[in-house]
Symmetry: C2
Subunit: 115 residues, 2 copies
DNA sequence: TGACATATATCGAGCATCTATATATAATGC
DNA sequence: GCATTATATATAGATGCTCGATATATGTCA
């Protein structure tokens, strides 16, 4: 994950959900896409991604089906459900609140209307 | 931490270092200050903070000494060392990179000069 | 045919946080 | 005078997320 050592946990699922909001994707594709778009800040490991995918599918946020691309090998495509879409919204909101709180602390050494 | 369940790990240490950049503080004070400034996004638990403080002191990022405030009880104040200041800078940089990468993914479903 | 990229999967280790628990003193309420 | 609450620090155990290692199988290129 290039975060010195590991990724700041909790984010991987949000990022995956976000990718699937755009279009259906298979695991390997998500890893590559995240790495490319984040300039390798997110080098998500296969051992991290697949359990997340399985977990999200188990809770109904995703569905999956195998497809054969051209003469290519079989790939497992994941699709975002309505439930997954709501989960994404919720997690995006959480991220916003969290990031703003961190920034508020890191920005100023001053009082923020502090009581 | 109010992050639904747990905090997005890795941040607690940065926030602690940042508070100590401003001035010396004791543990309980940090918990209260973080809660106040973050509007309770960070309700850091004592069981989380003290091990972090001990760890940072062990690696030389902090020093500590007991002080008696007025007629009050004894408090253990922590002080940021030069090493701690560098650690903070580094971790702040990491946060910036990370937050920007997350935002880039969450903002757009579009290509970012994607190859 | 041997190496490498693609593609999915699982298990164990590591780390950070939480919960629970323990201790001790000061302030407050009854 | 005594119980409760707030202040203040500390540790142990449970949980959760990610990583590293490992396994398997196919397609491509030399």
């Amino acid at each position: 994950m290039a975060m010195d050592k590991s990724l700041w946990p909790g984010s991987a699922a949000v990022l995956v959900l976000k990718l699937l909001e755009e279009r259906d994707m298979y695991g390997y594709e998500m890893i590559e896409t995240l790495a490319r778009r984040s300039d390798h800040t997110f080098d998500l490991k296969a051992g991290t991604l697949y359990p997340i995918l399985h977990g999200l599918e188990r809770e109904g946020a995703l569905t999956s089906c195998e497809r054969r691309a051209d003469t290519d090998r079989t790939r497992k495509y994941y699709h975002l459900t309505e439930k997954g879409r709501k989960l994404l919204e919720e997690k995006q909101r959480e991220w916003t609140v969290y990031a703003e709180a961190v920034n508020r602390i890191l920005r100023g050494g001053v009082s923020y209307g502090a009581v």
